[in-house]
């Protein structure tokens, strides 16, 4: 994304609120971090939800209670925990993850996993027992039955993924702590997301520009929701 020198010199004359490429770069950092975190969370959560949904074992209630509690983890606390983990003094300190997108992905993974697991589990549990029985009666293996149930539960699972995505892209507490809200001197974001950029503008008392970025974030979430919903409908029509 090269910066047009003409645009740059124009900005010396006109007091534009943001530098060229700035908003685009924070949007892309936001999407990069949150999409990867949610993808990883989904890969982790759905097998967990399937195992929990298909099996009874001692302590299952406790596991569900922990997951449900996780939905309420304050993001700033998650940020602190991840900070302690990736800080130079922490167990992952040698990986030099602090103030990187990887650390942000890690904290958003922790934040997004509980809602995705819990809502997927509810969706899977909500599928009629008859569907499961029919799959087994028709000679399906346990895996076949699981796939049939997952297919029936896809709307609920899509909701789960959206909830996880919403949690990830809208949280500010943890990415601010572990990401550091960094842009380069050229105004291109390294670890600044839409939410931390909003926080920065608010900190400076620039409420107007903060609102503009808030509008961008809202539009982005709406867009992602529309895509996922369309994706679900498309699956049905087929």
């Amino acid at each position: 994304m090269p910066i047009d020198p003409a645009v740059q010199s124009l900005q010396l004359l006109v007091d534009l609120p943001f530098r060229e490429g700035y908003v685009r770069s924070i949007v892309s950092v936001s999407l990069y971090v949150s999409l990867i975190a949610v993808a990883l969370s989904t890969l982790f959560s759905i097998p967990v939800a399937v195992v929990l949904g298909f099996n009874d074992f001692p302590g299952k209630g406790l596991v569900k209670a922990v997951i449900n509690t996780g939905m309420g983890f304050p993001s700033v606390v998650v940020g602190l925990v991840v900070l302690f983990a990736v800080s130079n003094q922490g167990p992952l300190g040698s990986l030099n993850l602090l103030f990187t997108k990887q650390a942000m992905i890690l904290s958003q993974f922790v934040l997004a996993t509980p809602p995705i697991t819990a809502i997927s589990l509810a969706a899977i549990t909500g599928v009629d027992e008859d569907v499961r029985d029919a799959a087994r009666a028709l000679g399906g293996t346990r895996l076949d039955a699981a796939l049939v149930v997952l297919k029936e539960a896809r709307y609920g699972i899509a909701t789960a993924v959206l909830a996880g995505f919403g949690r990830a892209i809208s949280e500010v507490g943890s990415v601010l702590i572990v990401g550091g809200n960094i842009t380069g001197a050229d105004g291109i974001s390294k670890t600044r997301t839409l939410t931390t950029a909003i926080q920065l503008e608010a900190r400076q008392g620039q409420y107007g520009t903060a609102m503009v970025l808030g509008g961008v974030l809202l539009a982005l979430v709406l867009l992602i929701n529309a895509i996922v919903v369309r994706f679900g409908d498309w699956g049905v029509q087929r």
Partner: protein, 330 residues
């Protein structure tokens, strides 16, 4: 204090890297050159051959600078860092926190260099062995701002502590940063000097940045302590006025706001990028960068006054305040 030969050879290496390998760095350099007119770096490259082998320790690396919100939010660092990044072929990650948080990150070994403005906290940081090679960097000052109708009648006072005492006596609303920042530290020192323990309905801690605190004060017609730079940058949007001036405008010396810079001690945190930290300190205390600091303006006003270059260096800048080789804690 930083050998010129190292500067030259790392620059040489960077030019070679930029041309041959690293598209990313090359683009960054190009952008910076366009943005700041720092074409000298390119001009220097053309006549150089690859004579810098073995001196390439810093090119391509990242310097993590934790700093205070006032240096970052005023736009100063973004304005001057391009030149350093181009000169060494490195990236500066500036993490803006309150002074307390900036020092804490460095204490944990998560930063390479710190730029803050609370001498007491800096001294403690040095005494505990975390920081080395401190330099005085620049200064501006604090001002006491408040509503134009000035209910506590402090306008034009020559004493900052007298003004705070008047505010406390009048029970006029005062907004405190309340975040262990450099400004908050200064404010607490002022209350202590005034012999007043602030508290009660009129004293409000916001826990927001300086810009946010100014907005809160503006919304309530309250007084607050602000660094001059942030106040200048926000003045056109709020209804507060400077009621007690700092030393830049002949106010009391107690309102001075000096910024210092220190490298994280590699003897304590072996992973700290000490080479690059010292290159940065060498650069930012050099006449060129100090000029860039003094020519940085917002709304036509100079925000920071460099003080690193002096015919008569103040030896106290290198050591904790009051330290001498004869004292027991040496």
């Amino acid at each position: 204090m930083y050998p010129i030969s190292v500067t030259r050879s790392t620059t040489t290496y960077f030019c070679v890297v930029a041309v041959d390998v690293s598209v990313t760095i090359q683009r960054r350099t190009l952008l910076t050159a366009l943005g700041t007119g720092a074409l000298g770096g390119f001009a220097g490259c053309s006549g150089l051959t690859g004579g810098g082998e073995g001196a390439a320790a810093v090119a391509g690396e990242t310097l993590t600078l934790t700093t205070t919100t006032s240096t970052y939010d005023t736009g100063l660092l973004d304005a001057i860092h391009g030149e350093f990044e181009a000169m060494y072929g490195v990236t500066v990650d500036a993490v803006a926190r309150g002074t307390g948080a900036a020092l804490e990150s460095a204490r944990n070994g998560d930063a390479d260099v710190v730029m803050v403005h609370a001498r007491g906290l800096e001294d403690e940081f040095m005494r505990n062995g975390y920081g080395v090679n401190r330099r005085d960097l620049m200064f501006n000052d604090f001002v006491i701002v408040g509503p134009a109708d000035d209910p506590a009648g402090i306008e034009g006072m020559r004493s900052a502590t007298g003004a705070l005492t008047a505010i406390a006596d009048a029970g006029a609303t005062f907004v405190s940063r309340g975040d262990n920042s450099g400004t908050h530290t200064k404010e607490r020192n002022l209350w202590e000097a005034a012999g007043t323990d602030p508290g009660g309905d009129w004293y409000q801690e916001t826990g927001t940045g300086m810009g946010g605190a100014l907005n809160v004060a503006d919304g309530q017609g309250a007084y607050t302590l602000s660094d001059r730079g942030t106040f200048i940058s926000r003045r056109s949007d709020i209804g507060l006025a400077i009621l007690v001036q700092g030393p830049i405008e002949d106010g009391p010396e107690i309102l001075s706001n000096p910024y210092g810079i220190m490298a994280v001690n590699p003897g304590v945190h072996g992973n700290a990028n000490y080479d690059l930290a010292m290159a940065y300190i060498g650069w930012i205390t050099s006449p060129g960068a100090q000029n860039a600091i003094s020519s940085y303006e917002m709304n036509g006003e100079q925000l920071f006054f460099p003080e690193a270059v002096s015919e008569n260096p103040d030896f106290q800048q290198y050591v904790p305040d009051g330290w001498s080789s004869g004292t027991a804690d040496a």
